[in-house]
C-alpha cells in the first residue's frame, strides 16, 4: 500500500535512467560520433534543460493544491534522472577538463548530484532509526516534560546534602536546552557522578534522594534520545543545505558557460 519514491511504479524512472546511461556509455566508446558538432550541442542542450527541470522540483514541491501526479512520482524522477548530468556532461565535453568556467559548472553539478545521492541514502536509512530511537509523541511535549523534571529536581535539591546538591546542579546544567549543550561538551559524566553520589547519600531526605535518582536517570535517557533525534533530523535536513544552494550555483555556472560558448565560439 505504501510505495516508496524509490520504487515508484516498479522503478519506472530507474529503468529509464539505466537506458540513458547505457546509451551514453555506448556513445562514449565512439569519439568520432560524440565529437560531431550536433551531438555536442544536443547533449549540452539536453543536459541544461534536464538541470532546469531538476531545479523545478523545488517549485513543484511547493505547489500544494495541485491535483496532478503525486509528489513522490516527481521525486522518483528527480532522483533517478538527476544522476544523468554526471554521465552526460563528460561525453558532451569530450572528456576535456581544465581550470575554466566550463569545468567549474561540471564540478558544481557533480557535487549537487553526489549530495543528492547522499540524500537518497539518508532518506532510505534514517527514518527507521528515528522510529527506533523514539516511537511516540511530539518532541516539543518531551522538552516541556524535561523542563518540569528539571524544576522538580531543583525543588528537591534542598532536601539533600549540599555537596550532592552541587552535583545535581552540574547534572542539570541549567534548563533543558543548556543541558543539551552541556552534555555534548562531555557533561554526561556529570549525571553519572550525581547518580553515584545520590546512591551513596545517607544524610539527606530518603524520599527526595530516591525521587532524584529516578528523575535524573529518566532525564539522562530522554536527553540521549532527544540528542540522537536531533542529530538524525539534522542529517535528514542538513544535506539539503549543500544540495539546494549549490544546485543554483551550478545552474548559474551553466548559464555562464552557455553565454561564453555563444559569445566566443
Amino acid at each position: 500500500m505504501h510505495e516508496s519514491f524509490l520504487r515508484y511504479r516498479h522503478f519506472r524512472w530507474l529503468r529509464i535512467a539505466v537506458l540513458v546511461v547505457a546509451a551514453d556509455v555506448v556513445l562514449a566508446g565512439a569519439p568520432s560520433v560524440y565529437r560531431r558538432r550536433e551531438v555536442v550541442y544536443g547533449l549540452g542542450i539536453v543536459s541544461a534543460l534536464l538541470m532546469v527541470w531538476l531545479a523545478a522540483y523545488a517549485v513543484r514541491k511547493r505547489r500544494y493544491s495541485t491535483t496532478a501526479r503525486p509528489l513522490r512520482g516527481w521525486l522518483s524522477a528527480h532522483a533517478y534522472l538527476g544522476v544523468l548530468p554526471l554521465v552526460l556532461v563528460p561525453v558532451h565535453a569530450a572528456f576535456r577538463f581544465g581550470p575554466n568556467v566550463h569545468t567549474l559548472a561540471f564540478v558544481l553539478t557533480a557535487v549537487v548530484v553526489l549530495s543528492g545521492m547522499l540524500g537518497a541514502v539518508l532518506y532510505a536509512a534514517l527514518p527507521t532509526e528515528l522510529t527506533r530511537n523514539r516511537p511516540e509523541g511530539k518532541l516539543e511535549d518531551l522538552l516541556v516534560e524535561i523542563g518540569k523534571v528539571d524544576a522538580e529536581c531543583l525543588a528537591l535539591r534542598a532536601d539533600v546534602s549540599p555537596e550532592v546538591a552541587r552535583l545535581v546542579d552540574a547534572a542539570l546544567g541549567g534548563g533543558a536546552r543548556r543541558g543539551l549543550r552541556a552534555l555534548r561538551r562531555g557533561r554526561a559524566g556529570a549525571t553519572a557522578r550525581a547518580l553515584a553520589a545520590l546512591r551513596d547519600e545517607t544524610r539527606g531526605d530518603r524520599q527526595a534522594t530516591n525521587r532524584l535518582l529516578t528523575l535524573l536517570a529518566w532525564r539522562a535517557r530522554v536527553i540521549r534520545q532527544v540528542r540522537r533525534e536531533l542529530r538524525l533530523q539534522a542529517w535528514l535536513d542538513g544535506w539539503l543545505t549543500v544540495h539546494a544552494p549549490l544546485a543554483f550555483a551550478a545552474l548559474a555556472a551553466v548559464a555562464v558557460h552557455v553565454l561564453v560558448i555563444l559569445r566566443y565560439r
Binding site: R7, T66, P70, T128, L130, T131, G137, L236
Partner: protein, 826 residues
Amino acid sequence: MSRFDVVIVGGGPGGLSAGAQAARRGLAHVVLERGAKIADTIQKYHRGKLVMDSPAQLRLQPAHPLRFAQDTRESVLDGYEQAVAAARVDVRLGHEVTAITGERGAFEVTALDRSAAGAGEPPRVTFACAAVIVAMGTQGNVRKLTDRRPKPPLATPGRDLPAIVYQLDDPAAFREQTIVVVGAGDSAIENALALANPGAGNTVYLVYDREGFGNARTANRAAVERAIGEKRVTFLANTTIARVEDAGGTCRLFLEGPEDRQIEAHRVICRLGADPPRDFLATAGVRFRSRDLRERPERNATFETNKAGLYVIGATGDADLIKKAMNEGFELVERLCGEPVVPMDVERLQRHVAAPLGARGATDDEAVAAAVERIRTTVPLFADVSALQLRNLLFNDCEVTRPAPGTKIFGAKEFGSDLYVILGGTVEVALGGAEGRRIAVGTGEFLGELSLFQDGYHAGSAFAGPGCVLLRVPRNRLLQSAGSAPSIRAKLDLAFALRRLQNLFEPALAGADPARLAALRARLAVLAEQAELRTWPRGQEIFREGAEADGLYVIRRGSVAVTLEQGGARAFLAFRPAGSVVGEMGALAPDRRRTATLVATAPTETVRYDQPGVVALLHDFPELVAALRNLETARLIENGAHIGRSNADDLVALLRDAGAGEATNILLIDDALCIRCNNCETACAATHQGIPRLDREAGRTYASVHVPTTCRHCGNALCMSDCPPDVIHRQPNGEIAIDLSGCISCGNCERNCPYGVIQMQPFHPPTFLDRLLGRAPGGEHGKEFPVKCDLCAGLGGTAACETSCPTGAIVRVDPAAYLDEVLDEV
C-alpha cells in the same frame, strides 16, 4: 364551579400557545401548570443554556400569538412571560392535575391547588369544561426507583421517602454529604460530577442496575470514567437498590449486586429518564399502541385521542421540539374554534411527498393526509405508527422520487446511509461477488438497512425497476423517530437479522422447488425473530478460541479482529467490518468449538443466531451447509496465509486504539519512509486558509505504522452524535463535513471526538463575498469554529497531504482494504 370551553393541562410552550390563542379567540379557558412558574422543563435547564429552535425548515405559524427564536434560557422564559401577560392567558400556577373524567362536552378536570401557602392537604379544585388539551410534556413523569429484576418490574420499597428526589437544582447546596445518584445517562453523570466537586467534600455514589454508560454522550462518559479513576465518584454497576429505609434525616439503601452492601445517604437523586404520563392518560381512558413505556398515546391528525374531546399535544404526543409543540397548540385551538388552519408542514410535505407520489385532495392539506395514509398502508415498516408520527418523520427531510427505470439509486462502495422505502414498482439490487446476483425488491420493502446501523458505504448497488416510486429517509431522522416509535426500531432490527440470513443462505437454494424456498424462508424468519442483539464495548472479547460455539454472528455495527493463539504468540487472521458473518466455523465444526478469538475493535453490535437453531437448520436443509462451507474454506485459505505471524497485538491495537477499526478513511504514515519533512502539514495548511488539520508528529505508532492526529471519518462518527444544529454530515465521497454556515460554535464535536482531531479555531467560514472575490476569509469577532480534515473537498478527490508527500510515506485509505493488502503483502 365555573365552566370552561377548554382546560389546558400543562403550561409549557404547547400549553401556553393553546392558552394564548384561546384567549385571543375569546374562549373561556384555563391553563393548569403544576410548577411554580410557567415552562417548568425550560426553567430546569441550567442558567444561560441556549434553547434551540430546530428544525430550521419549520416556521412558527405566522398568526401565532407567542414568539420564539433560538436564544438563552432567560430570554426565552422572559419572552413567554411577557407574551402570556399581554395575551391575558389565565394561567393557574401550582395546580397539579390528578384526574380527568367525563365525556366530550362534559369533562371534569380535578387538580390539587398547591399555590396557596399553607400546611396540610392542598385544596382540591375541579374545572368543568367541554374539551381538555393535555400538553404535559414528559419531564413531569420521571421514571421512579424500580427493581427491574423481576418481570414485571416492582416499585422499590421506600421509594417515596422525602430523601429520594428526581432532580438536582443547586449542586452547591450540598457539602460534606453522602449522595447516591441513580442512573447512568447524561443527567445522572452530570449530577454526580457536579456533586463530586472536590471542594464540597461530598461522598458520591453512582448506582446503576446495568452495565455502564452505554447511553451517555462520549464527553460525559470520559469525564465520569476519569472521576471514577480518581475516586471522586464510586460507581456500582449491575447493582439494584432492593429497598430504602428511613433512618431519621438520612435514608439507608440496601444494595444487591456483585457485592451486597448498605449505604446511609443524605440524599438519593434518581435520574432514570422520563416517559409520557402514561398511567395518568390511561386512567382518563386514552389508549396506547403498545405496552412499551416510550410509546406515545394514539391520536388522530387533529391531535384528538381515542377519547373524544381529549386532545394531546407537544412532547406527550411526539412533537418533542418546542416549535412543533407551539404550532400544535395554536392549530388545535383554531380547529376547535372552527377556523381554517393549514399546518406549517403542509407546504414542504406537498412539494416533496404528496405531489411526487401523486396523492390528491381538495386542498394541499388533504392531499398530504392522503399521501401519509397511502404510505402507512403500503409500507409494513410504518404500519404501527400513527399518521401524525409518520407525518413528523416525513417532514424531516424525507423525499419521494420517481426514478426512471434503470437509474442507479446507489452504487456498491458508495457512501450513503439513507433508508430507501419502495412505495411503488420494484428496485433491482445487485449484490457484490462473482455471481453478480440480482434481486428484485418489491413495493412496501426497504433498502439500506445495513448502512442505517453502520454509517458507511453500501454493500451492493440498486437500480430503479419499472414504475419505481421511492421514499428516501435520512438515517438520523429515522433513528430519532425510532426513539419514540418502538415499532419502527423493532421492525428494522428484525429486517436486518432476516436479510443477512437470506443473503447468506437463499442463493444455495437458487432454482430449487418454490415450496422448499418458502419453507426455508419460514425457518429463517423464526431464526431471525429469536436472534439476540448485543453490544460490545471497544476491546471486548466476543468469543474465545476453544470455547463452545453459541451460534452464528453477524456484525451489525462496528468491527472485529479475528486472532489465533499459537504457542504464546497471537496471529492476526482477519479484520471483519460491519455486515460480515462470523462464527461459521464453530457452527460447522464437529465438536462445535470456536476456532479463533474475536475482539471488538470499535463499539460493536452483533446479531447472534442461536446455535441449536442453526444446527437444526443445517440438518433440515443440507444444501445450506455448502454455502457456509464456501465461506469457511475461503477463510481457511486466508487464515493459512497469516498463521505463523505474531503480529496480532500491533494490528489489533491499530484497529482498536487508533480508530482504524471504526474509520472509513484513515491517514497512515509508514514510519520507515517518513523523512519528517512536514510537507504534509505544510500542504494541509497551504490548502486550508493556513490552518493545518493534521498533526503529523502527534499520535501513536503501531509496528511501523504511524497514525497522526487527523480525522478518521469514522463510521457512526461521534462528532455527529450531539451537534445541536445538526450540521455535521457524511458526504457521498465519505468525508464527514461540518457545514460552518449553520455552526453555533458550541464545541460539542471537538469534545466528543475520541481522537482529538477537531480543533475550535478563531476562524471564519468564507462568506459569499469571500467566495466571489476568491479571497481568504477574515477572522471573526471572538467566535471559534471547528476545524478538521475535509479530505481536500476542493481538490477533486486528491488529499494534499498524500499528494505532497515526497517519499510516498502517507496513504489515506479504507482500513479494510489496507489490512487486506498488508496481510497479503508480507
